[in-house]
Symmetry: D2
Subunit: 350 residues, 4 copies
């Protein structure tokens, strides 16, 4: 019999949380309107507005992250405008040029632990806007950040306030990719709430695909300039799900009883245990993350051996004999798998 | 208590067939690779290749129809090339300019009952390619047809062979939108098989969203020129589902025991009953369709009265007092609802 | 010795009017700023504003017609918006899909003698905006017309006022392609002035390439919504000429002493003579044009014979033995060539 | 009287060389075909093929540099492919996102003196192509370099051979932006010939706008994969000049008697004199350039004083009190202006 590989390579290896599945089952034979205009989707949108403390917010459901990023950015920018992002940002490296395919340049800023700063944003903005002949350069108009970042780190409330302030001062839209928002909100030292995000960002999304749903991202738009005709963009970019209620139902299941935060805390906690094991084994990390992603730097010989037993993501080569890799946990991570990994970490003799 | 509206407005009002849901449930907690590289997706692709009699075909799963259309067309055409389509074609009227947003002109041809002919294709091709200065015009490079069409009609084997022949003669790709392919294959007078489609088209898809799945379209590419790097396009256009197995699993459930054809025949049969009732009541049709869509022309006063009880789609105004509307059936249509409608039709005094 | 072919095939066979060339010569060694910020360009823009009676208008110079059309339309529309045009419109048939390549659908309306009506515009607008699910269709946002049209006809003041009124009522931008504007303004029965155009259109251009310049089109924007950041679009689309003064200088030469109208009247007059000759020979026309383009319907045998002596454009087949062709005149048309042609027309025995 | 500002800010301040103007004058009233199909354009294309030693090359004339860059890149790449370039490259910083507006990501590489190396290209290529899931990233397919670079430096024959070898090994197109090609070919230590460029690049262009023409760039395509349907792209992107002969005539004037190289050498020589003066005054340079662009680093107080007398371009701030600026020479630079500047440099007391 083939031995089971234990997957820590990503946070979307399983289907969906049982409460989500139950809701899909329970409503399966009901007839509803299509394209997200059904009662469940309306109810889920209302719930999200309430959780964000913003009755004026527009909420839209999309299927996946790349789709959401390209739709939001295409809706926000005129053809000659660009979006600033960390050079490690998902839109800059892992979306096959989806943003450029919509016509927009990504102004990549050097990042520290996956994050960019308000000062960097202002410098980039000024460099592009100071000259008389500034029309020879792209006009920066949006800032894209991920929370948690692609390196598992989290913007603090202060950092986000500073970014928001610089953006408003310069007429820039602040867009937060929340594909892994749950893990950021559940991070131990996090003080940001959904209400804060709704206040500080112009648009952000609550990720479902990587936080327990089958699929789905809930976009929250608070800036009125970004609301107009957004559904046209969703449709044009191929993101309008015919059976739109599937999205509404999933977010209802995730958000109505605090399930979203509960499973995010669970995933963070399982990773905290793994993190502790690596620490005790004196394994260094590529970056000090505090969510459900961990980037240990390990000898290649150990990684080779572990491949038989575990699945994890390759991140980058560190030197001739060491590489950084990524481990992830999720709502579905099994305690026994975590404990198995911890045992193997403890057995390391680096 | 609010009275239930009986929905005949589209074929995607409910969730999914129970056998599909069962398969999703049964595999929910399994860990698999993402992005459609899992074993279930591979298995489903193999099954589709087998059903098409083409081991060399590439199969890809996407989420929805507009997404599939824009991805296939963007993958196939160079920037200055266009796609011919019926002026009633989905890409021409109901996709918010998604094809143009990818840079390509749709060369709309006048259609008869939703269909275009080989002769029209050849005329259009010649008109664009005869001049010395043809580079001032778009170069036609693809023909897009829908099976069944947006008006519920079906291309016959002969019509499709003629289209295919003209396309090959002129180096044009033939692309069949099969969002409602099941209903076409199940049409009483249909003689086309999946093997025929694989032979006659360069690329086509087997629609799931409108034929019993939660969502999903299975693209079958037989022309090697269209295969290269197709996954890049899927990813860039936002169509690569993280939990890709959801697509593979659904198509397995639909295709492994003939369920797809069974539910298509069921939907066609229920519509045949409704069609008979309208015929007996001497209600004319906008078009002679023979699948799960029907377009009766009814007095506005009756339509107004029926709105309290039924949901149907408005198609077009015929004269001051009559309109054409659309009724649809699906795998989920209830016999009792059909019979209720038939009763009301019989009661008509037009 | 090879016999000279007399060219009536277009209005851009020669270089430029001598007064234009003189101005280029006289200023050739002066040093100026680039990209249209020089004193000559500023002076020409001021002159155009004055001729239009609109000190508030923005004026920009571009090199050619397709470039101008795509730049104006890309600047005006959001990604899901489309532009209505006559099906015979230049953007719809002779720009290799340049507008679609910028992402926008052209909503082609059936045209009569190259023109569309206010009623057609309103019908199209309503058809796209009435439904609840209108986001499944392109949103019409602009109307494109050509003056004179591609068939040499001219919108009357009343027709333009009606179009303008419908556009303003429905929030549509009215854009006039003036590649051959001079010939329209110089048409015998024309009562429209540049001031009228500036009042009735949101944006239009004064064509130079086809009216005596080496190249160049002067865009006049009166609607403030269309002014913002227009130079960014010019640069991005490759239309910002480094030695921008070449455009300013040419329009100064053409406009400062009425030369533009003078040469337009000359071309129209030479065509009027040719038109008279065809009339006297009882040759029918494809369309009743009254500017510098004429579309006689002639026997193919005569056209074949004439090809040795004249160059003209093929327009379309009328029946098995007759075709419509196009003759053009311009500022550079020689009277002796016109007279030669008139003689040959008179000699026809149809 | 206003004092004349002496312009060293760019190489396109004047009109055109007198021999170019003479040829335009001499042919002004001739009738020719349009769109570059005339005899002069054909003759100029033949001459360029001959100078490149490549009878099989396709030659096309375009109006300006940004237009040429976007047309070549749009013609070469499929939608998900990107182009590598120096981060200082013109397409990356000074074209308002023109390449991204065509849908393509620029993969910016850190540059040294405006240049990139074969090793950088290979590293970038490998980083994007090694993974199993490489379809999540843009596929690198082209390398863009400028000769001379935006910093006035020149790729040596050896450097270009290495780049060419790496590109061919990995199936990458090598594209050279030759907006300032004359100055590179005329550089004292240059050993590259047009024949070398035709052999080592897949496509490059001979710049006219910045080397003595009114406007115009001559694209030379030697790779057959890049030739197909190129005129469609030119037309679609708005680059097909109606009076195309203007381009052919200018390149004939520049190339038929060696004028192109003569004026390039003249410009380089005048800059060499200025360079010597700065050296003697012990003014440092931002970069060691050897063509017609020079980047001295000067105290801000001196730059302020000089602004009354000279025009030059601001490049970048070096420290609180010093900035790098750019001086250019051209075919039209007057010796007396150079000597005036040299005097002022000698008078510096830094």
């Amino acid at each position: 019999m083939e031995k089971r590989i234990i997957r820590f390579n990503c946070d979307y290896s399983e289907g969906t949380h049982e409460k989500v599945m139950e809701k899909l089952m329970a409503t399966n034979m009901e007839q509803t309107e299509g394209y997200g205009t059904d009662a469940y989707s309306r109810q889920a949108k209302g719930l999200i507005r309430q959780l964000c403390g913003r009755e004026d917010a527009d909420v839209h459901f999309l299927v996946g992250g790349t789709q959401t990023n390209l739709t939001v950015i295409a809706a926000a920018l005129r053809p000659y405008q660009g979006v600033m992002a960390a050079n490690t940002g998902h839109i800059n490296v892992h979306e096959t040029g989806a943003i450029e395919a919509c016509g927009h340049k990504i102004l990549a800023l050097p990042s520290r632990e996956g994050k960019i700063t308000a000062a960097q944003v202002e410098d980039c903005y000024r460099a592009h806007m100071q000259d008389n002949d500034r029309e020879h350069m792209v006009m920066p108009k949006m800032v894209y950040i991920s929370q948690s970042t692609e390196l598992g780190t989290v913007y603090s409330k202060k950092e986000l306030e500073q970014l928001s302030e610089i953006c408003r001062k310069n007429g820039l839209f602040l867009f937060m990719d929340g594909a892994r928002l749950g893990y950021a909100l559940a991070a131990l030292d996090n003080t940001l709430t959904l209400e804060d995000l709704a206040r500080l960002c112009d648009v952000f999304y609550i990720g479902g695909t990587k936080v327990g749903a089958l699929f789905g991202e809930a976009v929250v738009i608070t800036n009125p300039q970004l609301k107009e005709d957004f559904r046209y963009l969703i449709k044009q970019k191929g993101g309008m799900l015919a059976k739109g209620r599937l999205l509404g139902l999933q977010f209802l299941a995730l958000l109505e009883d605090g399930l979203y935060m509960e499973i995010s805390r669970y995933a963070n906690w399982q990773m905290e245990r793994i993190r502790g094991a690596f620490r005790r084994a004196q394994i260094p990390f590529l970056v000090e993350s505090n969510t459900n992603q961990l980037f240990p730097i390990l000898p290649d010989c150990i990684l080779d051996a572990w491949k038989e037993k575990y699945s994890f993501s390759y991140q980058q080569r560190m030197d001739e004999r060491h590489s950084a890799v990524r481990f992830c946990t999720s709502w579905a991570t099994r305690e026994e798998d975590v404990e198995q990994l911890m045992e193997d970490i403890e057995a390391l003799d680096v």
